[in-house]
């Protein structure tokens, strides 16, 4: 735990010591804000559905960009060697990085709370439960995409390549739900269960089902496991 915290702190320090974190957060806030307020006053509904629809789209590019450098940069500059020759477990290293990336996502998500405040002050009959579960869903999705992004970052030492791999992977999970009409009925169930949208929409509706939680946690675990394995295997090459 001690080492995870040290890696996490260093990574956050790096985010905020460069313009990177600020640029990401501003872009995230502006894009979401634009699409949210664009239609907010047209519908006359007291919910954040527009926001919850747009954030997953922004995530598709935002999260791979946030996580692309997490490990690829260390591979590239050689600091991976310094880290690997320290008495530090690979899982501590990966978890620290993951938590730092996730923390930045949560901060981005936190910036959208401004829309919630707008809603509360102008709207009526606000469904707080739905908003809470909507945010929970987005946080889980953010964590899963961060895990995917960190995996993409671990397979290369080039940040641009890591970004492209990351976008591709999250896009696959995002699009699976949309391909259901093209696949045979027998495997449609499996595909649907793998699709991130299916679980997100369940949670966003306010149904916090253990199956959805298990999906997110196992996906996070799976990609973190893959990342650790990728780093371990490099030592044996």
């Amino acid at each position: 735990m001690h080492n995870i915290r040290i890696i996490y702190k260093r990574e956050l320090h790096e985010y905020f010591n460069s313009p990177m974190a600020y640029i990401f957060l501003v872009i995230f806030a502006v894009v979401n804000g634009y699409f949210f307020t664009n239609t907010f006053f047209l519908f006359g509904q007291s919910d954040l559905r527009m926001l919850f629809d747009i954030v997953p789209l922004v995530y598709l590019f935002f999260i791979p960009a946030v996580s692309m450098g997490l490990i690829a940069r260390e591979n590239n500059t050689g600091t991976m060697e310094t880290i690997s020759t320290m008495p530090l477990n690979t899982y501590e290293f990966v978890l620290g990085k993951f938590l730092a990336g996730f923390c930045l996502i949560l901060l981005g998500l936190g910036a959208t709370v401004i829309h919630f405040i707008t809603l509360v002050s102008v709207g009526t009959n606000v469904d707080y439960g739905a908003i809470f579960s909507g945010y929970l869903g987005l946080a889980l999705m953010g964590a899963m995409y961060t895990a995917v992004g960190i995996y993409a970052s671990s397979v290369t030492d080039n940040q641009v390549v890591a970004f492209i791999i990351g976008v591709f992977l999250v896009l696959v999970f995002y699009m699976l739900d949309k391909t259901l009409v093209f696949v045979p009925h027998s495997i449609a169930g499996i595909i649907q269960f793998l699709a991130v949208d299916y679980h997100l929409s369940n949670i966003s509706r306010g149904v916090i089902d253990s199956r959805n939680l298990i999906y997110f946690f196992s996906m996070i675990g799976f990609f973190i496991f893959l990342t650790i394995q990728t780093l371990e295997v490099r030592r044996w090459k």
Binding site: T77, T79, S84, T85, M86, P87, W236
Partner: protein, 314 residues
């Protein structure tokens, strides 16, 4: 003490290190010398637990690098080749980060920090960004990072590469100083760097250790015959070529004549010194000796021989 036995590493089809074995005692400074690509860095990477050996053993006292990786890493300070640093951090932040992983925090860190600042001469740059530090300072920061936990063993991969001559002298001095209490294992591809600093030299070529000993030992083991260059005047060529008849230990090698001056090369075994006999022979035959210089093989020649000879075989 470090004990390496039959250590090998293959990168897919390339054999980078071929079954090497050696020991290093505590308090010894050992130089690991080889041309670029000879297998030095690979060996060091295996010793520090960054790479897993294809076969063979690396033991630090009773610990084994495969089973006790972290225990060994706690005792080692490692300066990787090219000295990678987190350049966006300040010097003390970087050292604090590494010390943190080694569980040196709070007051203990402050003590360790002032120790490495003193030892590595970092006083002026502690609060600077690493990106703003000169190459010489970066190298010291790398050394300070390797020493923050006061390790018993220092493994340094090309510690003085890319430094200017003054910095090289400083870093050498620092390593010598450290070597009084610690086991230091440093690699280099430049002989002079190593020769001036270490107690013992190991030469690696194409993944194999081709020489191992103090520089005196290497000299006596690998030294070839002595070439004696003589410049004379007025010597009859046949007296030169038939010197061996009178002075049996000397062999005639070559003769060059220009403007009355004859440049002769003789050869004799490294354990003999027949210069007096040659002098007497010269007097008997009415040569006027202008110059007489024996050329013995130096460590540089030995290094070149050892590392190019096997290239020819390959």
């Amino acid at each position: 003490m470090i004990k390496v036995t039959d250590l090998s590493k293959n990168y897919s089809t390339v054999e980078a290190v071929k079954s090497i074995s050696f020991n290093i005692q505590d308090g010894e400074i050992v130089g690991f010398l080889g041309a670029n690509g000879a297998g030095k860095t690979t060996t060091l990477k295996m010793m520090t637990g960054y790479l897993v050996p294809t076969s063979g053993q690396i033991e630090f006292n009773d610990l084994n690098i495969i089973d006790d990786t972290h225990e060994i890493q706690k005792q080692i300070g490692y300066l990787p080749e090219l000295n990678p640093l987190y350049t966006e951090m300040r010097v003390y932040e970087y050292l604090e980060f590494l010390a943190g992983i080694r569980k040196i925090i709070g007051r203990k860190f402050k003590e360790a920090l002032s120790r490495v600042i003193e030892e590595c001469g970092l006083r002026g740059v502690v609060h600077k960004n690493i990106a703003d530090c000169s190459k010489g300072y970066r190298q010291r920061i790398g050394l300070a990072a390797a020493m923050i936990h006061d390790p018993k063993i220092l493994i340094l991969d090309e510690p003085v590469t890319g430094l200017d001559p003054n910095q090289i002298v400083e870093i050498r001095g620092l390593i010598k100083q450290l070597g009084k209490e610690k086991l230091v294992f440093m690699s280099s591809h430049i002989l002079q760097e190593i020769q001036a600093t270490v107690d013992r030299i190991m030469i690696i070529n194409q993944g194999e250790i081709v020489a191992n000993g103090t520089s005196d030992e290497l000299m006596s083991n690998f030294m070839g015959n002595v070439i004696l260059n003589i410049e004379v005047k007025g010597a009859a060529p046949e007296t030169i070529e038939h010197i061996q008849a009178k002075v049996p230990s000397v062999k005639f090698v070559s003769l060059n004549t220009s403007n009355d001056i004859q440049q002769i090369q003789f050869e004799y075994g490294k354990d003999q010194d027949p210069r007096e006999d040659i002098f007497r022979y010269a007097v008997e035959n009415h040569w006027t000796i202008l110059k007489m210089t024996p050329h013995t093989t130096n460590l540089e020649d030995i290094f070149r021989d050892l590392t190019t000879e096997s290239d020819a075989h390959a």
